[in-house]
Symmetry: C2
Subunit: 348 residues, 2 copies
Amino acid sequence: MPEDLRNRVDRQPTIAGLSEADLLARIFPRLRMAESHTSSTLLGPGDDAAIVAAPDGRTVISIDTQVQDQDFRLQWPNGYRTTGFDVGWKAAAQNLSDINAMGARATSMVVSLTLPVDTPVKWVEDLADGLTAAIRGLGATQCSVAGGDLGRGSEISVTVAVLGTLDGGSPVLRSGARAGDTLALAGTAGHAAAGLALLESDVPVDNLGPAERVFVDLQSRPRPPLDAGPEARAAGATAMLDISDGLLRDGRRLAQASNVMVALDPGRLEQLAARLAPAADLLGADAGQWVLGGGEDHGLLATFPAGVQLPPGFTAIGSIHALGTDDGPGVLMAGRPADTGGWDHFAH
Amino acid sequence: MPEDLRNRVDRQPTIAGLSEADLLARIFPRLRMAESHTSSTLLGPGDDAAIVAAPDGRTVISIDTQVQDQDFRLQWPNGYRTTGFDVGWKAAAQNLSDINAMGARATSMVVSLTLPVDTPVKWVEDLADGLTAAIRGLGATQCSVAGGDLGRGSEISVTVAVLGTLDGGSPVLRSGARAGDTLALAGTAGHAAAGLALLESDVPVDNLGPAERVFVDLQSRPRPPLDAGPEARAAGATAMLDISDGLLRDGRRLAQASNVMVALDPGRLEQLAARLAPAADLLGADAGQWVLGGGEDHGLLATFPAGVQLPPGFTAIGSIHALGTDDGPGVLMAGRPADTGGWDHFAH
């Protein structure tokens, strides 16, 4: 564990003295959903495996891992300290977003935690609270934590596998965009990147006003628009994906999977960038780069046939064009190829 | 990465220069099953999530993580070097075993890999080969790798979430054992523990004969009996679990979940211990302790109503008794409480 967390939690009980059963007994009560909750979990934690309803005979599944010092820092340059609650929230939100991006609803998740032996028990309890709060707060009303695994390691690592249902519908893939389609965005773009820039700045977190603080909060606890995915599917979306690595990079993925050109509307992007002014002004940064390159907002990028009324929460930000004779699929801005950007776990 | 692996792989290309897409392009071809394979995967890798068939409207799910230096060592005291193939095989086998222990068949898995930047590409390719080989070699004929996630960390960590189907049947839980039931074992007990003792010994691995080497192989690449779980369910098993932490510890879990006494037959245990003689004689060790306390064979411990013909692969090793007036649930040997043993990730 890094020195800063160790100092902060001195004298707090750690997991060192607890058996796996002891620690699970501290976690499970925090994963229970409200009694009114309509869970898809048919058999929850405590046996060799869990059982989850798959009412239409199919299960949508995704998996994602967050690792300390890679996907989050416990202590940021601006003084912000990432809580267990933040890590739990973000792990749940990122995975729920992948189900959303298929046009599906989450039904359950299983969680595998790797923890250094000197991790405070309180930190792990907070993580469980964050998982539960994200599931509830983001509106995944049928989802609960069906099971998990605990083990030791030298760094904190949280893996979530999430299940979902398409309710009998067809999944919205990345490959269905057609020339003439409208390109639309649900959720925010660049807010999490603005938050990251603030966290990495030398502006003390306690000096931030509410207009700037919102970006830090969205970086720490992203809010994917979970209604938008199933609504896009119902409205006839032809292609969709989760913007986890930035509008340019994820736009390029959609272009490549569909073999089309994705044309972004610079005027619309300027409107998105204008919302980031409080952070951009404070840091002297280019908000446009955050909009184009910033991941982790976990908004949705979707295409709809021209003339379709966009579902609530979606805004048109461009259009889909056929490939020219000499062009490969890619992203255009004002008719010119846009540079790629965004985040790649390995290339950066 | 530990020095030993770094030395071994000097001059081998590492993942440092590869993007996530590059590395995935090296892995995916190795995860493809034979063409004759009947896969339950409806949508495989490449989109935000995968889609897997759940023909009876339910999905069985489990998750498990293996971390370097916790669940495996890259280099053992006896000179054995854990390969990527071993780690991939073991990750698949452990998770397939959890599905087996419910009486279910595996339909798919998703895999999240955390890798240090200096991990050799070849090691990762071997891991993919090991996953595929375990799925095929253990007979999970409908299962394939449906998707995954790649990220960086300071230590190797492999998380698998596995899905399964009960084919319309009822799951075999830990809680269904009743007084009078026969206690039965499928698979081996203590072989993986004998292998662990050999790996941790100063007897060079190259000096081991085939009779001892089999234990090292089972520790490195466990062979859970995947037919036995569904067959036990079909035969009317009342309770079942995967022996991952040893016969005593897992027997106690079954006893507690079912609120009964688990009585082990010392004569049967001696027969199991006799099979471990080549390793026990070499090391001067107590084979009985391996049988009682050794995990990671991933055999099945199941209970059947008295008089039921045990399915192929199961051997009777004891019986289930009602609780006495003053007793809590537990494990008996020759009428006396057996000491607990086995492996706990946190308490040891």
